[in-house]
Symmetry: C2
Subunit: 200 residues, 2 copies
């Protein structure tokens, strides 16, 4: 059995990552989401081990000092990170693990590991993303503008990912991600042919 | 329009390259075969510009001295090579050009260009290839053994290609090549997002 791989997926808020990912998962049985750990409080509708692994600051800092996280970031005074152990276990069972993480965490992960498949999901255009972010209408102008500034910074980081998939059509974006996973499994470094020993 | 790419396809005799390639071509309109140039005599059923560009030794050597070939090899006292010009023209029109070339020529091309998508088509096992090569029954033992020695050397070179596609099933092999082409077109170096100039 071929070992699974880490798939890092990022993209600006409003780009439709969730929808595209659900579509990819529908067609492949060899994918699994990674569950992040966080110190932010659990919300009423959330389940520990499903949405996040919820823990206190001391527990999270123990993971940091044990070098047991693939990456972590601090956001609004809370830690968010990816525990290594469940990721490695799934990979050992031939499962690819999808890490849907922020650009900041992804950059840290790229420094640490060069064996990840990194995919940035981009909007058809920045103007389109702007429309989607501002057009929601449920957000104060100031917050929307902050999101837009972050989105701009994120889109500038797209080139640091190995692949960029433009989400102008969910089906097409999902099939491109599917093709990337198939192509990566065909890379020659994973290939081994047993050649006969004897002289011919 | 995105520029087309050079796709180098190699694989041992008897692996079924032709069948797999025809299946890939059936599903994509952005692919075109490269026609090689050769100094070997034209055969009765062959068409100039279709099977090969047939030319004399002086013409071929002119191409060599003009640096107008992507790669060339000498085989049984004849030259075989890939003229650059039609390849570049097709690429300018967004067409991927498939070069079905021998391992020896491919190695020379890899030294010259690092922007090619290289795919090695491998048999399910060396034993299976042996059965196919020896089992044809139309070949003298000595020739069959020579083919097998060449095939062994070629399979050892598989790792020098970027991708290896195992032809245990024509449909699956064709869909893997299709996925490789799609994935390669998603590589971030081909991506450019126009970000707004103004301060946000």
């Amino acid at each position: 059995m071929k070992r699974g791989k880490i798939i890092v997926l990022s993209g600006p808020s409003g780009v439709g990552k969730g929808t595209v990912l659900r579509e990819v998962m529908r067609n492949r049985s060899d994918l699994q989401f990674s569950v992040s750990a966080t110190t932010r409080p659990i919300r009423p509708n959330e389940v520990n081990g499903e949405n996040y692994w919820f823990m206190d600051k001391a527990q999270f800092e123990q993971l940091i000092s044990d070098d047991a996280l693939l990456e972590y970031v601090t956001y609004a005074d809370n830690y968010y990170g990816t525990p290594i152990k469940p990721v490695e276990e799934a990979m050992d069972n031939g499962i690819h693990v999808v890490l849907e993480i922020e650009v900041q965490g992804a950059m840290k992960l790229f420094e640490r590991r060069d064996d990840v498949i990194s995919i940035f999901i981009a909007p058809p255009s920045f103007e389109e993303l702007k429309r989607r972010l501002l057009g929601r209408g449920d957000t104060a102008q100031q917050i929307a503008e902050k999101r837009l500034r972050i989105a701009r910074w994120e889109c500038e980081a797209a080139k640091k990912y190995k692949y960029v998939v433009v989400n102008d059509d969910v089906q097409r974006a999902a099939s491109e991600i599917d093709a990337i996973l198939t192509a990566e499994s065909c890379r020659s470094e994973y290939y081994e042919m047993i050649l006969p020993e004897e002289e011919m």
